[in-house]
Subunit: 163 residues, 2 copies
DNA sequence: CGTGAAACCGGTTCAAA
DNA sequence: TTTGAACCGGTTTCACG
């Protein structure tokens, strides 16, 4: 991926609703050229979607926490992510290296709601939990700076699955 | 905040580019009514912005990690977030309860880049670091389910009778 | 892969209730 | 606060370089 695409991705990461007209001006391309590039980036999966960034305090979910989980039975098949997917309070699930197997990011309404969620997590995935409560968030959702690195990451992203 | 606004926020959280026409159909309101509500939500800060969700692998930043930091001198003023803000590899910074003071979420191109970043973090904020590498991410950026809970911001009657 | 122009559709404003 | 209508601008497609 080269310069202009990186530029477009960066701009959209910072403002997911930027118009093609503005993107065109910022990149020096015509509107239809940018349009074509954005569609291609979406199709390739470089741009996976768009989301509104919401204020969780304003929306009744002021408590954020990181929940690290560890299987109670290390021999059992590890399907924790699927088992936990139904819990909508879980915003993200990362498999990690280290003592624990996953780190979950959760958003709840209150300490009691967190307590309840932890029980559900333990029951649903047969895991033990270790919770780190977030006190405040100086910043979040910052867009990365896409350096002019060479051939970015992946060899090819195919939608058709043909090797 | 009531029903329809919650609905709008949820929809926009899932698709930040959903058109007002579609939002109108989903909510049963007219286009201009939804338009007005969205603008109001933006102005109130409930909707803080919009962002494209990008595939970090495809963009040359395949390595994600959580970096917990702890001040070397616990007596020194804690201005780590500001001191680290210039490092664009840091996507988020959360102040947390527990043994460490902040959890950083970082995205880098390689293990070497991570090593370099950790040095910059330690040097910039005078902290020690503990890093947890992300191996894979089953899911991320999931939109919360906004329950008909009470209001967030203005007073509201409580069921438990606590004033 | 780029372009400009045309057609289309969504975004935006407005007066009215 | 909601609504429909009118207006304007962005989106999308197209034929072509």
């Amino acid at each position: 991926m080269e310069e202009i695409d990186r530029r477009i991705v960066t701009l959209l990461a910072r403002d997911g609703r930027m118009s093609f007209t503005d993107l065109a001006r910022e990149t020096g391309l015509s509107v239809s050229a940018v349009h074509q590039r954005v569609r291609r980036l979406e199709k390739r999966g470089v741009v996976r979607g768009y989301a509104a960034i919401i204020d969780h305090d304003a929306v009744g979910l002021p408590l954020t926490a990181f929940v690290s989980i560890k299987p109670i039975d290390p021999a059992a098949p590890d399907d924790a992510p699927e088992r936990l997917a139904h819990l909508s309070a879980i915003e993200a699930c990362h498999s990690v290296a280290g003592d624990e197997s996953y780190i979950l990011k959760v958003r709840v309404a209150s300490p009691v709601a967190l307590e309840d969620l932890l029980q559900q997590i333990r029951a649903s995935a047969n895991v033990s939990t270790r919770t780190t409560v977030v006190l405040s968030t100086p910043y979040e959702h910052r867009a990365p700076e896409l350096a002019p690195s060479e051939e970015a990451g992946e060899p090819e992203t195919r939608q058709d699955g043909i090797a």
